[in-house]
Every structure is written in structure tokens, then in C-alpha cells.
Symmetry: C2
Subunit: 368 residues, 2 copies
Amino acid sequence: MRTELSTRLGLDHAIFGFTPFPAVAAAISRAGGLGVLGAVRYGAADELACDLDWLDAHTDGRPYGLDVVMPAKKVDGVSVTDIEAMIPEGHRAFVQETLAKHGVPELAPDDRADWRITGWMEQVARSQLDVAFDYPIKLLANALGSPPADVIRRAHDHGILVAALAGSARHAKHHQDAGIDIVVAQGYEAGGHTGEITTMVLTPEIVAAVDPLPVLAAGGIGSGEQVAAGLALGAQGVWLGSVWLTTTEAELHSSALTRKLLTAGSGDTVRSRALTGKPARQLRTEWTDAWDDPSGPDPLPMPLQGLLVADAVSRIQKYEVEPLLGTPVGQIVGRMTEERSVQAVVDDLTRGFERTIARINRIAGRSV
Amino acid sequence: MRTELSTRLGLDHAIFGFTPFPAVAAAISRAGGLGVLGAVRYGAADELACDLDWLDAHTDGRPYGLDVVMPAKKVDGVSVTDIEAMIPEGHRAFVQETLAKHGVPELAPDDRADWRITGWMEQVARSQLDVAFDYPIKLLANALGSPPADVIRRAHDHGILVAALAGSARHAKHHQDAGIDIVVAQGYEAGGHTGEITTMVLTPEIVAAVDPLPVLAAGGIGSGEQVAAGLALGAQGVWLGSVWLTTTEAELHSSALTRKLLTAGSGDTVRSRALTGKPARQLRTEWTDAWDDPSGPDPLPMPLQGLLVADAVSRIQKYEVEPLLGTPVGQIVGRMTEERSVQAVVDDLTRGFERTIARINRIAGRSV
């Protein structure tokens, strides 16, 4: 399964795997895809450096990438404290009431909040990049908007391809004008931030809009048939995030969350502003229901909502409070029914792809 | 492009085209697909018979099908008048206010209301079937729920395959238990009634759930790449509805509506209960906005909403009141940018499919 882009990156398979876990990213790269480590969880640049050291030592020399979240709009001289001060008291009270209703304990004073969104602050993302450019990363992805021009320039100076996620053709063209190299067409069914247009419609629309830039299809892909479908839509590769969450290498640190993911159906996700302030697909929980209830407060705009709920989400995760426990994940969660190794997932994708090619050639009346 | 199902039906291409227009259905069948005429617009069985006569005379002996809307739940002894009486006065007033705000004229006393949903009443659908079984139709599709057991039996006695639309695997299994022959997996992006799960995720889920029943992929399909993607997902054919609306054979009788369809982007549809009471994807208009506005009344449940708005929709269409003028259509509307003949659309689909097969074989490293 090779395209111009996957060949250029030195991959065996045109499979791009986004994950917040270094062990998963390394295993994806070792299996012949491109493991892309999500940096948003890292608050301090030295933690990221530590994990990139580990990743670099465990990919057997295979290529890997990094995903940062640079905000679309730059706000100069605004600190986390400034932003915290913009959060209304009523919203803080609603968070505490919702937690109290479910008896969620406080974190101990020396517990670190595991779920953080400080990586979304441009200054944090920039400090991460200062670290990242010391590593031989092959791809730098930006999950929100186009990266700033100087970041694209620095990446190109290091021979790094720059990718950006887009939920519409207009958004994709904006990335192209900014000088990025690859567009990830993120369909409605994807986990995390998505627009309204589905992968089936969005992928060819973006391929046509940004031609000749390569496009990756993202959203709803978790099997070889879906890989083939994504490539049939004109993509030069597929971008998968959700399917790695239930791999044996994933460090969710919550058997309750793993169990929820393994038993959830494709209809058990919701596109909600509860987590970040922008619509992001995630498991539907009593937490998302509380925020989607019209009688409660509206989620705040990004980045306020993320700051508002960071401590609460960490507490829910640490104490595995089942009714509230969730995670960003796509509709493909319905297909994630057993824990498997990353290698087993990649094998399943590539074998399923081969079977699909054989079947579709029979439909087309071609013998191969 | 042949599958077991398309061969069984005697088609050149595994393309199923749903349309309310006999001229479009005939042209799809003549082009080698299966034209499926939607019967919901027909109030009287003799009008349907008249159009089936015409269709049968214009398919050059090629197979064609019929799509009826049998309601999932049977309500014995309830007439249209009984149902009309259940509509609250406040809702009627809201309709009149919205029409008045846009200066929509009344229909003349002898004008027939073009937009009707009386086909949804089981007694009407049954009278349509009494007519339909006199014609050599090859496929009978039901757009809402499983058809009643006696209808399936009658169809099978006539050698007619029965198809039913499904938006979830559970829904599809229910159809299978009822004894139908084909499931149409209708993704979120499709025009008309849809669920939340997209074609990319839904199609393989339903294929697995109802195996060995054949499945058609519906939603987001309007190009050869998308045909290939739908077939890659395990479908034995693709079911297209939206793309025919802007063919030269379509009898929309509204150049304003055609213009709206040709200029709309993939983001210009909305899944709204405004038209039928169930979520149905359609062009977003000031009419759907009015019903989706939380300060207005909630749409009524099916079939009340359809009865409530039938006259209003007919008036909007007759007088081409642009801000309110809409139609059920899928996200693929963004690709419908020029009026073409049905034959040109089918040629584009089949040629695009061939190009896609060639490209994906190169990706798979196969020479064909």
C-alpha cells in the first residue's frame, strides 16, 4: 500500500497513526506506518523531550511525526492566568455541582492533573517546537488552523513536512495558501474536533480543492475496507486516531475507560463542546449530557472551556467515575471490540486492504 | 461494475437510482442501472398507474423498481382527517406567520398541492402496491421501517426483491428478521431521513450484521471515486438519490430550486425535522431555520408535521419563494454544479470508477 507521499516518507504502508502515547507511536512506526505523537498533553517542554528521547530510541530507525496544537488566532501577551480570570463563576459552580452529584473526589494536593490542554497555548506549543526540531521528526501536524508562517519555514528548513487538519474545502485551501504540505481531511465521524461534512464527501472535495497537495483521509477508518475506501476517495494515505486507544500499548491507565470503549457502539459518541469549547466527537457520557442539556450553561469558547474543565476531567479519570468517564473517539469505536497489539491492528488493516482490492477487482471485472 | 446482486437483477452497473421522476427512473434503467421510482408523491393509485405505464414503456425492457413509504407502525382505522385534528392550533399559526413574513401567496382553489405525503399513510401505500404488482417491477424498496409480512410475501410471490433503508445495524437486523432481501445502508450524509452514523462507518457495520444479505451503500455518493469507496466498504451496489435532482430529465418545475442546488456547497444542508417530523437532510433554508429556532415551536412527530406543512411547502414551491425554497438532498449537493443528462451522470460514475480502480491497483502494487 504505497503512494507518492508514503514513499517520500519511507513508509511501508500509507497509514498515519495519531496517538497521545509514545509506546503506540513507536509501535505504529515499527509496523511500517507513521506514528504521530500528540503533544497537547505535555505542559512542559522537558516532559516532551523525555518522551521524544524514548520514542526515537524505540522506532528502529523508522520515521515518526509530532502533532502540536497551535491556536488559529494568536493572542499576544495573554497568560493562562488572564484566561482563567475570564471564566464566569456560574460555570465554575456548574462544574462543581456536576462533580458533587456523582461524588467525584478531589485530587490530592500533590497529584498532577493528567488531562491538560495547556499545549493549546501558543507559547507552550512554541516551546514544544523548540524541543521537537532537535529530533529527526518527518512530519509536523497541526490540529487547529494553519501553523504560523515562521513555524512552517522552520519545519521546511529541517526537511519536515507540515500537515494540517481541515473539516471543509475552504479551510483546506486556507492551509494551502499558508504553505503547508499535506491536508488531513477530517470527517464528521472522526474523533476530536470535526466539522459537519463526512469523510465520504469531504475527502474528494479537499483533494480537488488543494490539488496537487497530498490529502490524508481521516474519520471512520478502522478496517482494511475503510482504508481502501479512503484511498479510493483520492487520498494518498489514511489518518487513524481512535483505533489505537484499545491497543495493548495504549496507556489509558483506566480499565473502566478501556471497557467502555470496547463495549461502545458506533452510536455511542456525540459531537459536543463540553471538552474544549469547539465541537469535538467523544464518548457520550453523563458529563457531555450535562453540558448539552439546554437547561444548563452553554460551554464556553475555546480555550476557556478546556481550562474550566481540566481539573474536573482529571478527577473523573483518576477515580474512574464511570457515568462521567469519556474520551475523544470517533464513530469507529463500534468496531473496537477487543484489545490487540498495534502490530495486530496494522496487520488487520493491510490484510483487509488486500482482500478488498481483490474483491473490488472482481466487481470491476479485472483479474489480477 | 457487477456484483452478485446486480447480475441477479440484470443490470450493467451496480448503480441504484432513487428518484421521484419517471423520466429520470427510465433514463437510469436505460443507462444500465436500476431506476427506482419514489411513490410517496402519488396520492391516488391511478396517478401512479399512469406514470408506471409511461415508465414501463420507456425503459427499453430494462429492469426498474418502486419505492413506497410504509410506516413502521400501523394505526388501524385512523384517517387523514383524524390525524389532521391532532395538529395544535399554535403550530398552524406558526406556519401561517412564517409564510406571511415572506409574502407567500395562497394556492388558487383549483391548484393541486404538489408536495404531498399522503403516500405515507399505510392505506395509501397499500393501494399503490395493488397497482404496482401489476407491473414487472424487480425491486420494491421501503423507506421507513420493514414492510409488513404480507407485503413481503406478495412481493416474493411476484419474484420481486424487497429492500429497506436502515440507519443503524440494529435497524438492519430488524429488517433481516422481517424477511427482506436487501438492506440500503443510509449514512448521515444522505438526503432525506438519516441517522447519525456516516456511510463510511455504517456500511461495513451493516454488511457484517446482516451477512449474507446484500447491502447497498447510500449517502455521499456522486462520483466514481465514491462508488468505488461504497463498494470497497462491502456493499453490492450503491444507492444514489440526490445527484439526479439536477439532471436534465428531472421535473423540479422550478429554475430557482435548480439554481439553489447547483450553487449549494456540501455545508449548505441540514438534518431537520421541519419537513416530516423525523430528521431528514435537506437544503438549509429560512424555513428549516424557523423550525430549528429554539424560540419557535418544535416540529410535530411524523406524520403530523408532514400534514401540517404540506400546503405551505406546495405554496413555497409553486411561487418559488427563494429564501424558503428547499428540497431533501444530501451533502453531495456540493458536487452537483451543472445540469447534465442522466446518461452523462452514469457515464461519469462508471468512468470515474474505472479510473479509481486503476489508481488503487497502483497503490496496492498490482498491475492489471
